[in-house]
C-alpha cells in the first residue's frame, strides 16, 4: 500500500468510529455511483464516501483528512454543471444528503436556518405558510441543495430583481480545512470583521464546508404577473428587453428563448408557446398590486412597440406554471432534438446581446454546429445549448470548439466565463483568459489563508494553484515541488 493508501485507510478507520456503518462507503460498486456530478463526461471514483448525519461527524472526518493530508470534496445533490463535485481519486467525498433538517423558520426575523443538504425548494415550502419564500431559484431548485447553492453562488430566473445566493445568505457554520467549526456572519447583517462569509459563498467548496446556513426570507409578493411574448426575431426581443430596463422597470425576471430552444421545449413539454415565434420572452412582474398593474401596462406597450406579435398574460397559477415549464425544462428538452449537447454559461453586458447573438449564429453557420439559445436576458447571462451527436466522429470536438468560442465572445465583450454554473473542473483552463496571473495569485492568497494544505476540493477553479508560503509572482520553469516529485503537474 502506498502512502496515499495508508492515509485513506487511517481516515476510513476514523470515519467508522465517528459515523454509523452505512454512512461509510468503501464498496466499489457504491463508490461508483458518486463518480460524477451534473457534468457527466468527467468521471472519477472516490477512494471513500462518507455521509455524515450532523456537523460534528462531518467536522470529525475533515479533521482526520487534515491530519492525514487527504484531499476531500463536498457534495450536495450532485447537480452542479461544472464538475465542482467531481471526486478526487485518492480522496474522500463528503456527501451532505443526510443533513436535511430545516432547523428553524423565524418569520419575525425573516430568517430560516437550514442544514446544507436541504433542497432549495424545501426552504420556500417551509416559509410559504408564513407568507415568505427563499428568493434564489435555480432551475434545478427541486433537486439541488442549499450547500451546493452557497458553494456556487447560484442564481435563478429571479435574480435580476432579487440577487443571487450571496445576497440571501447572512450566516453559516463553516468547517475549515483543519476540521474546526467557526461561525461566519450571523442572524443580523454586517458582522464585524472581514466578510469571510461573502468570500466563502461562490468559492466552490475550495475553502471549506458549510454545515448550517442562515438565509434571508423574502415576503411573498402581493401580486405576480407572468407574460409570454412572441417576437419574430431575437433582435426584436432583445430590443424590447432593453426598452423595459431603460424605462426604469426592474422585472422579477426576463427570460429569452430562441426558435430552436422553443422547438425543443415544445417537443418535450408541449408548453404551447406562440406559433412561429423566432424568439419568446417570459417576463414576470411582482410586488404590490398597484405598482405591478402600472408596470404591466408599460411592459405591454414596450413589447408591442418593439414588434411583439402575441402577448399572453397568465392569469392563474396553472397558466403561470405552464409558461415557466417551457423555460425551466429547456436544458433537458434539447435532449429531444439532439442526442448530445453542451450547456454553456457565459455573461455579456446586456447591451451587447444583438452583436453576440449574431456572432453565435455565424459560429454556428460556419461550423455547422447547431446552437439553441436560452438565457436570462435581463442580466445578459447566456445559456447557449451546443448540440451534437457523439456517434458522429469529430462532432464532439467541433461542439467543444464552438462552445469555447462562445466564451471568448463573452470575454471580448467584457463579460464573464460563468454567470452561475461555476468554474469547477470544466472552466479552470479559461480563468487565465479573464484574469491576469496577478489577479489569480491574489485569489490564491485567500485560498492559502483558508486551506494552506490545499486539501479542500483541490484542482478546481484555478488552473495552476501555487503552493502556500511561496512568494507570489515568481513562478518560472517547473514548480519546485513538482521537480522534487512532491506534486504532480497541476
Amino acid at each position: 500500500m502506498g502512502q496515499a493508501g495508508a492515509a485513506i485507510e487511517a481516515v476510513t478507520r476514523r470515519a467508522r468510529e465517528l459515523l454509523p456503518a452505512d454512512a461509510v462507503v468503501t464498496d466499489r460498486a457504491r463508490l461508483r455511483t458518486y463518480e460524477c456530478d451534473g457534468l457527466a463526461h468527467y468521471r472519477v471514483t472516490p477512494a471513500l464516501v462518507v455521509l455524515p448525519r450532523d456537523a460534528a461527524q462531518l467536522a470529525g472526518v475533515v479533521r482526520a483528512c487534515a491530519e492525514q493530508g487527504v484531499p476531500y470534496v463536498a457534495r450536495g445533490a450532485g447537480t452542479g454543471l461544472s464538475g465542482g463535485a467531481l471526486p478526487h481519486a485518492e480522496g474522500v467525498l463528503v456527501v451532505t444528503s443526510q443533513m436535511r433538517a430545516i432547523t428553524d423558520v423565524r418569520r419575525d426575523d425573516q430568517r430560516a436556518v437550514v442544514e446544507p443538504g436541504v433542497i432549495n425548494l424545501d426552504v420556500t415550502r417551509a416559509a410559504t405558510p408564513h407568507g415568505y419564500y427563499y428568493a434564489p431559484d435555480p432551475s434545478s431548485q427541486q433537486i439541488c441543495s442549499i450547500g451546493g447553492n452557497v458553494a456556487e453562488n447560484s442564481g435563478g430566473a429571479h435574480c435580476l430583481k432579487y440577487g443571487f445566493t450571496t445576497n440571501h445568505v447572512v450566516g453559516a457554520d463553516f468547517v475549515t480545512s483543519a476540521g474546526e467549526t467557526v461561525a461566519l456572519g450571523g442572524t443580523a447583517p454586517d458582522a464585524p470583521g472581514y466578510d469571510l462569509l461573502g468570500t466563502v459563498v461562490g468559492s466552490e467548496g475550495t475553502l471549506g464546508i458549510v454545515t448550517s446556513v442562515t438565509v434571508r426570507l423574502v415576503r411573498l409578493p402581493e401580486e405576480v404577473r407572468t407574460i409570454l411574448v412572441g417576437f419574430e426575431s431575437t433582435d426584436q426581443a432583445g430590443a424590447a428587453t432593453s426598452a423595459i430596463i431603460a424605462a426604469g422597470i426592474v422585472p422579477a425576471a426576463i427570460e429569452m428563448m430562441d426558435a430552436l430552444a422553443i422547438e425543443a421545449a415544445e417537443a418535450a413539454v408541449q408548453c404551447n408557446y406562440p406559433h412561429g415565434a423566432g424568439a419568446v420572452l417570459v417576463i414576470e412582474l411582482d410586488g404590490a398590486s398597484v405598482e405591478v398593474e402600472q408596470e404591466y401596462a408599460e411592459v405591454e406597450r414596450l413589447c408591442t412597440e418593439n414588434g411583439a406579435f402575441e402577448q399572453r398574460l397568465a392569469t392563474d397559477p396553472a397558466e403561470r406554471a405552464l409558461i415557466w415549464k417551457g423555460r425551466k425544462s429547456a436544458f433537458a428538452a434539447v435532449g429531444r432534438i439532439s442526442p448530445d449537447y453542451i450547456v454553456q454559461d457565459g455573461v455579456i453586458p446586456r447591451t451587447a446581446l444583438p452583436q453576440v447573438l449574431r456572432a453565435i449564429a455565424d459560429l454556428s453557420g460556419t461550423s455547422g454546429v447547431r446552437v439553441a439559445n436560452v438565457f436570462h436576458a435581463g442580466d445578459g447571462n447566456l445559456h447557449p445549448l451546443v448540440l451534437f451527436d457523439d456517434a458522429v466522429e469529430g462532432a464532439g470536438d467541433a461542439a467543444e470548439k464552438v462552445s469555447g468560442a462562445i466564451l471568448d465572445l463573452c470575454i471580448e465583450h467584457g463579460g464573464s466565463i460563468t454567470g452561475e454554473h461555476g468554474v469547477g473542473m470544466d472552466k479552470a483552463k479559461y480563468m487565465p483568459r479573464m484574469y491576469t496571473d496577478e489577479d489569480l495569485d491574489t485569489m490564491q492568497l485567500v485560498r492559502c489563508a483558508f486551506d494552506p494544505q490545499s486539501i479542500s476540493n483541490p484542482g478546481k477553479v484555478f488552473p495552476t494553484p501555487r503552493l502556500c508560503g511561496e512568494v507570489p509572482g515568481r513562478r518560472k520553469g517547473a514548480h519546485p515541488a513538482q521537480q522534487a516529485g512532491l506534486a504532480e503537474v497541476f
Binding site: 445576497n167 463553516f174 447583517p189 458582522a191 464585524p192 469571510l196 404590490a288 464573464s416 485567500v446
Partner: protein, 418 residues
C-alpha cells in the same frame, strides 16, 4: 509589525514613486497619530509604486479617501505614509444601458451620483457622511436607510481593482452583474477598513431613479408601539425602501419610505398608513435627521460622542430600544433590517460608557447581532472593548497575514488588533 524608518533613502524612494509627496501637516492626523509623509498618487500605477517603495523600506501605510471620518476605528499603531487617493477622482464610465458605473476610488460618492443621475439612475448607497469617497465608503461599508430595499455596498459592487501591500495590482469581478468566476475579492475588501489592500477602482450595479417617493411617519410613545409598528410594516405588502426608527428617552418615531411609480407610491402609502393608523402623517421630505448619524460628525478629539453601531435580528428591536433607553443613548437607524446607530453624549463618564456598551452588546449578541464602538474619545477607545467578540478571528488573521504579511497597512486599526 513593520520595522522600517522614514529615513532619507525612504523619502527619496517615495518622492520618485509619486507626483505629490509632502510632509504631513496638522490636519493629516489619523485619530491622534501624526503620519510622516502624505503621498497623493495620480493614478493606480503610482499607488502601486508608492506601496512598492513602502514595502522596500518597511514603512506603514494608511489609506485616506476624503478623510471625512478617518478617526473611526482604532488609531493605527503607526502611519509612516498617509496614502491619499483623492486624486483618483474620475468617474470612468457610466454604461446606462447596462445599469453599471466604473469609478476611481477617490471620487466623491456625491459626484458619482450626479453623473449617473443624468442617465436617470443611482448607486443605491446613501451618503451618510457628506463628502465621503467611493473607496472610503467601501472600506467602511457604510449604509443608510435605503438598504432595506437594495442592500449595502457588498450587494452592489461587481468589480474591483486593488493594490496590495506589496504593490501588486489585482482585480476581481468585472463589468457584469452576474459573474461567479473566481473568488469574490470585492466582498473581502468591503468593510476591511484599509487593512488588506488599497482600492483604486470599483464597478457597481445601478438602480433606476424612482419617479416618486413618499415618507410616512408615526410617533411612537414606547418600546412596544415602536416594535409593533416596525413588525407591521416589514411583514406587510408595502415593499418599503426604508423603515427607520428614531429614538431618545424612551420614545421616538418610526418612518417608512416608499419609492416607485406615482400611482404605485400613492397606493402603497395608503397601505402603510392603514397599517400604522391615524397617528401617522405623510410627507415628501425625509424625517428630521434623515440619513445622518445621531451624533455630531464635526466634533473631534475629546469632544466626540461615543458612537455605536448595533445590529440585531428584527425580533430584538424592542429589547434594543429598551436597553438604549436604560443606557441614556439616542438611537437612529434601519429598524427594518436590524441595523442602528446610537450615541452616548460627549462627556459621559468612562464607567457609564462601559456599563452602557456592555448592556447594549449583551442585548445585540443575544439577538444574533453585534455592537461596535465606531468612534469615541481616545480615553473611551482605550477603556472599552471597541470591537467586541468576533467569531472566526483566527481565519481573519490568516487572511491578513496572506495579504499583508508585515502588517504595514493600517496596523492595529481593526478587529483583534489586525
Amino acid at each position: 509589525m513593520a520595522t522600517g524608518t522614514l529615513d532619507t533613502t525612504a523619502r527619496e524612494a517615495l518622492a520618485s514613486a509619486c507626483q505629490d509627496v509632502q510632509d504631513a501637516g496638522e490636519t493629516d492626523g489619523v485619530d491622534g497619530v501624526r503620519p510622516g509623509l502624505v503621498a497623493r498618487p495620480a493614478d493606480t500605477a503610482q499607488v502601486a509604486e508608492v506601496l512598492k517603495a513602502a514595502a522596500a523600506h518597511g514603512l506603514t501605510v494608511v489609506p485616506r479617501g476624503r478623510g471625512t471620518k478617518l478617526s473611526w476605528g482604532l488609531p493605527p499603531a503607526s502611519a509612516d505614509v498617509l496614502l491619499d487617493v483623492s486624486a483618483l477622482d474620475e468617474v470612468l464610465d457610466h454604461a446606462a444601458g447596462d445599469l453599471i458605473v466604473v469609478t476611481q476610488a477617490g471620487a466623491r460618492l456625491a459626484d458619482l451620483q450626479e453623473v449617473v443621475a443624468r442617465g436617470g439612475q443611482r448607486l443605491a448607497i446613501d451618503e451618510t457622511v457628506p463628502g465621503a469617497s467611493v473607496g472610503g465608503t467601501l472600506a467602511t461599508n457604510t449604509s443608510g436607510p435605503r438598504r432595506v430595499a437594495t442592500g449595502t455596498a457588498r450587494d452592489l459592487l461587481i468589480g474591483i481593482t486593488v493594490v496590495r501591500a506589496d504593490g501588486v495590482i489585482a482585480k476581481a469581478g468585472g463589468r457584469v452583474v452576474k459573474n461567479v468566476a473566481g473568488y469574490d475579492l470585492g466582498k473581502l475588501l468591503v468593510g476591511s477598513a484599509g487593512t488588506l489592500a488599497v482600492i483604486t477602482d470599483a464597478t457597481f450595479r445601478l438602480h433606476p431613479l424612482a419617479a416618486a417617493h413618499r415618507w410616512v411617519s408615526m410617533p411612537v410613545p414606547g418600546v412596544a408601539e415602536a416594535h409593533a409598528a416596525v413588525q407591521a410594516v416589514v411583514h406587510g405588502q408595502a415593499v418599503p425602501s426604508a423603515v427607520e426608527v428614531d429614538w431618545a428617552e424612551g420614545r421616538g418615531a418610526v418612518s417608512v419610505l416608499l419609492e416607485g411609480r406615482e400611482e404605485g407610491v400613492a397606493g402603497r402609502t395608503a397601505t402603510v398608513r392603514g397599517l400604522l393608523g391615524d397617528a401617522s402623517t405623510e410627507s415628501d421630505d425625509a424625517p428630521a435627521g434623515g440619513a445622518a448619524y445621531p451624533w455630531d460628525l464635526a466634533a473631534t478629539g475629546d469632544r466626540r460622542a461615543t458612537a455605536l453601531k448595533l445590529t440585531f435580528a428584527l425580533s430584538g428591536l424592542a429589547d434594543v430600544l429598551a436597553a438604549a433607553t436604560d443606557s441614556g443613548a439616542v438611537l437612529r437607524g434601519s429598524a427594518g433590517v436590524g441595523v442602528a446607530y446610537a450615541a452616548l453624549a460627549t462627556g459621559t463618564p468612562l464607567e457609564d460608557v462601559r456599563t452602557a456598551v456592555d448592556r447594549l452588546r449583551r442585548v445585540c449578541t443575544g439577538h444574533g447581532g453585534s455592537l461596535v464602538v465606531v468612534d469615541a474619545p481616545s480615553a473611551v477607545k482605550d477603556g472599552v472593548d471597541v470591537w467586541g467578540p468576533v467569531p472566526a478571528l483566527d481565519l481573519m488573521r490568516r487572511v491578513k497575514d496572506q495579504f499583508d504579511p508585515d502588517h504595514r497597512l493600517s496596523p492595529a486599526r481593526y478587529v483583534g488588533g489586525i
